[in-house]
Amino acid sequence: MKRALTSLFVFSSALVSAEVVSFSREVAPILQRQCVACHKEGKAKGKYRLDTYEQLRKEIDPGDLETELLHRVTTDDTEERMPVDADPLRDDEISVIRRWIVEGAKYDGEDPGALLSEIIPMQGHPEAPSSYPRPLGVTAMVFGREGEKLYTGGYHEILIWNPEDGALLGRIPNNGQRSYGLALSPEGKMLAAATGDPGQAGEVRVFDNQSGRVLATPFRGGDTLLAVDFSPDGRILAFGGVDGKLRLFQTETWTEVLAVDAHSDWLTALSWNRGGNQVATASRDKTAKVYNVTTGKRVSTFSGHPEAVRGIAFHSNGKEVLSTGDHGHLFVWGSENGKKVADRAKFGGPVLRFVEGRREFFATTPGGVVVQFDAEKQKRLQEFKIASQAGAEAPTISSCASWGTLLAVGTLDGRVIIFDTETGDQRTVFLAKP
């Protein structure tokens, strides 16, 4: 009788699990959510990593149910059980992992060295709310090629505004939760967004600027992307984010040209040189670097920043790089040798965004002030100040864009303010909230 029952059980469970467990669709999401924070590159607690299939495979043998991984998630010993100080894995999650090991611990992705966050299939982005319950910080913006439009990062979308009157011209859906960088290709056909769900996922999305259709998603990762820009000829898209890597992709075929571990902390900003053969990167790790696009080699590093670097740009002479950040300095250094040329403590507070204008640079500083700065003459030209909202503290500027004589500034309290840099006047103010 007992035997009969057992075989019945086996039979029925076989029915349930007729399909083979998919690593990328079923196992990886569990590991990503429960384990990767502590067992990844650079933070391998217990010298145990499972942030890629390759790493995980070193720890388990196909069919071996005695493996450490299973033991740790199933044991009753709270000293040993993973995840630490959290609810144990659910039974269905454990059974998925167990079945996958029994079935041979196989990989169903392409690159076994890819991060789990990259191979977990995309869920598709939710629709943006038709009207936002509260303002959302404007964390990315870019002007259209003719200055006739202003694109800003919305919630799971990109919003298009008329800079003249703040009217909402359009919405490009199907985007990551928030955008931290926006870039238009030189001829204006493609719109690229560095996006992500903070702490959970990141993506680079490329849209057709006309139709709003998604052209490509060249990269997905475990946390947000922060910076993106096209090369001057539009052939290469460079981007980076929380993982500190600099990545370059061909815009025609969307194949990877380069991926380097540029920084040990967030890559916060990047900039192309005019010749299109070098990219400069800024990071929270207090360094800024220049990479040669063709060779993939690092050309120089400037590590003289006392704090995080947030903004970077090539000098128009092409030989020098300007970098700024939390320290409020503006450093000028040689792009070839990383040697400091000048340290201009111009800004008196942390600089969050640093944008190149026609002949000058704009740096956002505390108290809602944007400083216009001439790099040639090394002099402060003028300041644009954003008024506080009633009863609130001075707004935090979270994005900035320039076109012609227009300067657009986005704030964390959800406003967009447009200035005329010729007259110094404020032209438009609107709440970037559908």
Partner: protein, 809 residues
């Protein structure tokens, strides 16, 4: 008729013979403003002298259920504006509800930040550490709300909050482990803490502080000590906060609760305490920068326990016995004479008693012989140097800290202070207000070791206030009441001390300037001298601020001065402070027997700060003289002094004892040859020599402090492998045992027989003759050995390696 009368007396609250028991409800009235406020009731069942907490599960009756609801845990939540009573038996609470329609938005300072403290996010081991965790840094326990506001709302482009879908905020996803969180699961989605954080984000994560009243203090309930009996070993706490606008809010759901000893009792996030075993514990509640605490004693009926009355020798025993009886521990028997004499010699003089002294003492039939011996020892020179050495440790009397000549001068001064029994207030004054040349006034060396304002203040606070205030230099103290303001206020007393080297030898002139201020590092405000209870003081500039401090310190009602020294003396004698560690007084580290400490401190004060008197009182108590052997009913006791706790000899005691037993006392460099280890003025007098770097120094291995910090903890009291190696086969022990001019070889040369030698070894090392079996075993070994001399050396080695020798018991 009587039947009706009974409850009536109870209603009147008369604690009469008829009134068996009654309910107590706290508070008696309360106003809830706004929908999000709540009130934690505390229901106490009082039966004669016993109390039991019945907050959970009590049958609360609401007169108007439309106004409020009450949960099973006794939490009152508003429903509609109005007034109602909540009854329990004949006792009632009146609750007024108002402002339900217009709930105030979540206050970042008064609600959001306290919740993050409560969840542990801003604890020192998590995001409150100086560098934060995972690139997310909060100020330690929210002492810097403005910075935390920026961090939570603006830093990294508002990444941590999501105004569109609040539930998707990183601030909520991480602690609920929806996104993996290295710190583990800290927050439940169904919890009130989650709801509060979510509301704050949904309302726009506002940081407003204008128009907000400030909190002026908190009250904890129960506010006075309670004794709780198993199985009713539980207690709900509540915390109320008072605000500058006159309002009072229940912040039980926002406060952080801690138990001072989680082996005795645990406290839940909600402030519910569960006793685990008998003993005392302090429950600490913290809200914003305010801390309050209440002590609880848990009593468990022990099977077969019966208290046997015994006559206390003095008030020490009265207090100790009261505590032991309450907790159902039986004190050990009195120590035997041989046990006592070894113990009291080691404690008072640092030395072992000689065989002659032991013989006379044992034979003495005088019932007062222990008291007489104590008196004699307290008058001895050895006592003065041994106890001066303890202060030398605390005052950093070392060559490195104060210089070679000064070591001798300062240490001589300390010995004289003990020998002349200098009153402790005078002792403190001489040190703290030292002025003039260090050559003439050696106590001025205090300010050489404490070389700047902050060092002098921190040192003085630790020595005389028993407080480790250092943390408050950079932020409000995480475990104590001390705030950053207090730190700089206290520092202002020491800021004007000047130290000038004259170049004449090591001479240092200490004096006080008439100007110089301490300013607060954050506000830049000039801090007036400030002391606990006394508050900020105006001191005319012609006065030395240190005089004002010392005046306050040695004042009649100073809460620290006498307690700290009484506890220190107690700890030196009993091996453990009533407050332990004995120089760490704080709410979170309560005394194990508060009345005992109070009585000692009071006696000390009334005696004119006579330290010898206090020593005498303690040494003459049955508590001090109890055997170290435990009985069935005190085996588990570590904290209440039911028996003497054996402890290892200190490095200096051990070296002197080895010298006496082997007849080969250790010689020290830099001092006359007859100086004992327990008389050494400093640990670092050995001339520095490159060739000897790496030499094992026997005393260091056994915990001799370097005297580089003022913490008693610098003295190592842990046993180590190094110590075992030294005792088993170290060079020093080997030389002492085999020395031809040592006791053993002298006795062999004098032709003493093995039995006499074994007897002498036992008596000198263990202060007792060998037992018959022990003796037989030794003799069997010695007589069976090929080489009798070697066998005798082995015997000495065995005796020296007995715990009975290495320990004081």
């Amino acid at each position: 008729m009587m039947r009706f009368l009974l409850p009536m007396f109870c209603i009147l609250g008369m604690p009469g013979v008829w009134c068996q028991a009654a309910w107590e409800l706290h508070p008696s009235e309360f106003t809830l403003s706004g929908k999000r406020e709540s009130l934690q009731l505390i229901a106490t069942w009082r039966d004669r002298d016993r109390v039991a907490d019945r907050t959970k599960g009590a049958e609360y009756v609401i007169t108007d259920p439309a106004v409020v609801s009450v949960s099973r845990d006794g939490v009152v939540r508003p429903r509609a504006n109005g007034v109602t009573t909540i009854r329990l038996g004949e006792t009632m609470v009146e609750v007024t509800v108002r402002g339900v329609q217009s709930p105030a938005p979540v206050s970042f300072r008064h609600e959001t930040l306290p919740v993050l403290s409560r969840l542990g996010c801003s604890a020192g081991s998590c995001h409150g550490s100086p560098h934060g965790k995972g690139s997310f840094r909060l100020s330690l326990r929210a002492f810097d709300p403005a910075l935390d506001g920026l961090t939570l709302v603006s830093e990294e482009l508002g990444r941590r909050t999501n105004p569109i879908e609040p539930d998707k905020s990183l601030l909520l996803l991480k602690p609920t482990t929806v996104v993996s969180h290295e710190g583990g699961k800290k927050l439940d989605k169904e919890s009130p803490e989650y709801a509060l954080l979510r509301s704050w984000i949904a309302e726009g994560a506002a940081l407003r502080k204008e128009q907000e009243s400030t909190c002026t203090g908190i009250e904890i309930y129960p506010s006075s000590a309670r004794v709780l009996h198993f199985p009713d070993a539980k207690q709900q706490f509540s915390v109320h906060a008072k605000f500058s606008d006159g309002t009072r809010r229940d912040v039980t759901h926002l406060a952080v609760f801690e138990s001072s000893n989680t082996k005795v009792a645990e406290v839940s996030r909600q402030g519910f305490v569960s006793g685990i075993e008998r003993g005392g514990v302090a429950i600490i509640a913290r809200y914003l920068e305010f801390i309050e605490s209440t002590s609880l004693t848990f009593v468990r009926k022990i099977d077969g326990f019966e208290w046997v009355d015994r006559k206390p020798a003095n008030y020490v025993d009265e207090h100790v016995y009261r505590k032991l009886r309450q907790l159902q521990f039986s004190p050990s028997e009195q120590s035997k004479d041989l046990e006592f004499i070894r113990r009291v010699y080691l404690d008072v003089t640092g030395q072992l008693p000689s065989a002659d002294v032991i013989g006379v003492f044992v034979e003495d039939r005088d019932p007062r012989k222990r008291a007489l011996l104590i008196d004699a020892l307290l008058e001895s020179e050895e006592h003065a140097s041994f106890w001066a050495q303890k202060w030398g440790d605390l005052l950093r009397v070392s060559k490195k800290q104060i210089g070679h000549t000064s070591v001798f001068k300062f240490s001589r001064w300390l010995v004289n202070a003990v020998a002349s029994n200098m009153p402790y207030d005078k002792f403190a004054r001489e040190i703290l207000t030292a002025r003039g040349s260090s050559l003439v006034y050696p106590a001025a060396n205090y300010y050489r070791a404490a070389g700047d304002t902050f060092d002098a203040m921190e040192t003085s606070a630790q020595l005389f206030l028993g407080s480790r205030i250092q943390c408050a230099k950079c932020h409000n103290h995480p475990f104590e009441r001390w705030t950053q303001d207090n730190y700089y206020g206290l520092a202002a007393f020491f800021n004007r001390v000047e130290r000038k080297k004259t170049g004449k030898g090591e001479e240092l002139i200490v004096y006080s300037r008439q100007d110089g201020e301490v300013s607060h590092p954050a506000s830049g405000e000039i801090m007036k001298p400030w002391a606990p209870k006394a508050g900020a003081m105006e001191v005319e500039k012609v006065f030395d601020r240190r005089d004002v401090f010392t005046e306050w310190l040695t004042g009649e009602d100073n809460p620290f001065f006498a307690n700290v020294e009484a506890n220190r003396i107690w700890a030196y004698l009993l091996g453990r402070g009533i407050v332990e560690p004995f120089d760490d007084f704080r709410d979170t580290n309560p005394p194990s027997n508060p009345p005992l400490l109070t009585a000692l401190a009071q006696d000390f004060r009334q005696s004119g700060y006579d330290r010898r008197h206090l020593l005498r009182v303690i040494l003459n108590s049955n508590t001090y003289q109890a055997a170290s052997e435990t009985n069935h009913f005190n085996r588990e006791d570590q904290n209440y002094f039911s028996h003497y706790q054996p402890r290892m000899l200190t490095a200096e005691q051990l070296v002197d004892a080895l010298g006496v037993v082997t007849g080969r006392p250790m010689k020290f460099e830099g001092v006359p040859p007859e100086v004992k280890a327990t008389e050494l003025p400093a640990p670092d007098l050995r001339p520095h020599s490159r060739g000897r770097i790496g030499d094992v120094e026997f005393m260091k291995v056994f915990g001799q402090p370097e005297r580089q910090t003022i913490c008693e903890c610098e003295r190592g009291d842990e046993s180590s492998l190094g110590q075992a190696l030294q005792m088993y086969n170290g060079q020093l022990i080997h030389d002492m045992i085999t020395a031809k001019d040592g006791n053993l070889h002298r006795w062999i040369g004098e032709g003493l027989d093995e039995e006499e030698i074994v007897r002498r070894l036992y008596l000198s090392a263990l202060c007792r003759p060998p037992g018959d079996e022990e003796l037989a075993l030794h003799l069997q070994y010695i007589r069976g050995a090929e080489n009798a001399t070697t066998a005798l050396e082995d015997t000495l080695w065995i005796v020296l390696n007995k715990s009975e020798f290495l320990f004081q018991h």
